[in-house]
Subunit: 157 residues, 4 copies
Amino acid sequence: MNPGRPGLRPRIAVCGPSECGPETARIAEEVGREIARHGAILLCGGLGGIMEAAARGARAEGGLTVGILPGSSAADANPFIDLPIVTGLSHARNLVLVRSADAVIAVEGGYGTLIEVASALKMEVPVIGLRTWEVSPLIVRAATPAEAVKLALERAR
Amino acid sequence: MNPGRPGLRPRIAVCGPSECGPETARIAEEVGREIARHGAILLCGGLGGIMEAAARGARAEGGLTVGILPGSSAADANPFIDLPIVTGLSHARNLVLVRSADAVIAVEGGYGTLIEVASALKMEVPVIGLRTWEVSPLIVRAATPAEAVKLALERAR
Amino acid sequence: MNPGRPGLRPRIAVCGPSECGPETARIAEEVGREIARHGAILLCGGLGGIMEAAARGARAEGGLTVGILPGSSAADANPFIDLPIVTGLSHARNLVLVRSADAVIAVEGGYGTLIEVASALKMEVPVIGLRTWEVSPLIVRAATPAEAVKLALERAR
Amino acid sequence: MNPGRPGLRPRIAVCGPSECGPETARIAEEVGREIARHGAILLCGGLGGIMEAAARGARAEGGLTVGILPGSSAADANPFIDLPIVTGLSHARNLVLVRSADAVIAVEGGYGTLIEVASALKMEVPVIGLRTWEVSPLIVRAATPAEAVKLALERAR
């Protein structure tokens, strides 16, 4: 875990695939809303799918949204990103995303999300899972977006 | 250059050494203040010296400050950073900092700053120089903090 | 998959934890020996445990051993590495290791190895597993070191 | 400087632009030849121009050539690279190249080479210059390829 000094707003990363169906998007959007309602900063990979849905939700609640992009252009960011971080590092940006977070919420997810989950486990960043990879007992299961964000903020301490 | 979509707040990176004297700190702080007064986001390397002075200035004017850190802990950030990005990439984070900016203002600087200036020149991110490396005619010289920020914002377009 | 041009010697990465018991070390060493016997180059993370055992085996058969290190010093490499690549990237070096390989052999492994397995799956580098993570049907199971290297070389094409 | 343990073959990086004229290519090729004649390993960025010429020279003398590539495919390597390291890190690979070397020889060069020279100065890797950037008294000037390699190997200790 990596909390930084007291007084910093919590940073919660939402990880998940860049394409998703409407039901999963609804879940990710609600995760983003809950993050913003609690005054936390949303970090994500900045692209589409889960990342865009979560950023849309956080934006709708007036939250700050950060997109840590794999490519070399800020124009890759989805329209709900306030602050693009342009890494040019391809998939290695997944590790920057995870390290920068106080806690990670993984929503479903393919192999890219598995990189993030594994990185969080390796770096001891708390992971909350919503219908995601089951590769460790350290991943805390949540049943709803509200519960996921509550668990993330508790563990972000 | 790397502007992203219209509507994003400009992101201006301030680069310079992690130790500096009071006169240089005063200049960097004023650069940070000017960035915030213009509604832009301050990016920096998140550590001490020029980075801390610029963040202190931006914070004093209510601006948003982002520290793109080389190490593996958010606790490395100086006390004026609102959003630490924790890369774990050592000096390779200098390139992430530069890529994420619409323009770079270099204030004095040693070899780390030269990595940033060279990276900006390579990636075609505009560079404004305040008493810094003179390695290219593409570096636009500024005489004062206010002029540096004005030039950076003009070129950030 | 990422074969490069015809004529290059195959590059096989061996991934696994930096600490391991003697039985696992014996397996990793035999994997290294088999890689060298087939004229392939051994890539690994350059540190101890599985990485050192594999390098020791490859070295014993006259093979070339490459250690892609997370830290900032070549002195971190185990004594059987011929060529240290010093990344300074911390765990992000795991992705450089995987990308550089024609195939990956994962031997047991913790969360660091899971980063590598997930990265290989994401980047479509073939993965052969010896008692490792079971997170995808794409991971080809091998029962012995000889079988693992045979499968890796077949898929490296 | 970053020597690693005794017994390792020296690793000399040759840095320079990906396009160059025949006279500069001749110089870079001779640098590569000299590196191989001294039993050292040639590291380079793996692409064209200076990198290709140096690798061609080292290969012609039976040396080992390593290309630390910015992109995501080993197929990007020039035909004289024995071992491609595929970083996917874009220009951040320049820092991996420099860190992995016992000494750097810069041949002419644009802004990419300046990233490498600045990185070497920052990381205290010795830099030998052949008609390159003059940004520090720490850069040791050489008049000929043979002198450049001699100086690099002396400082690599």
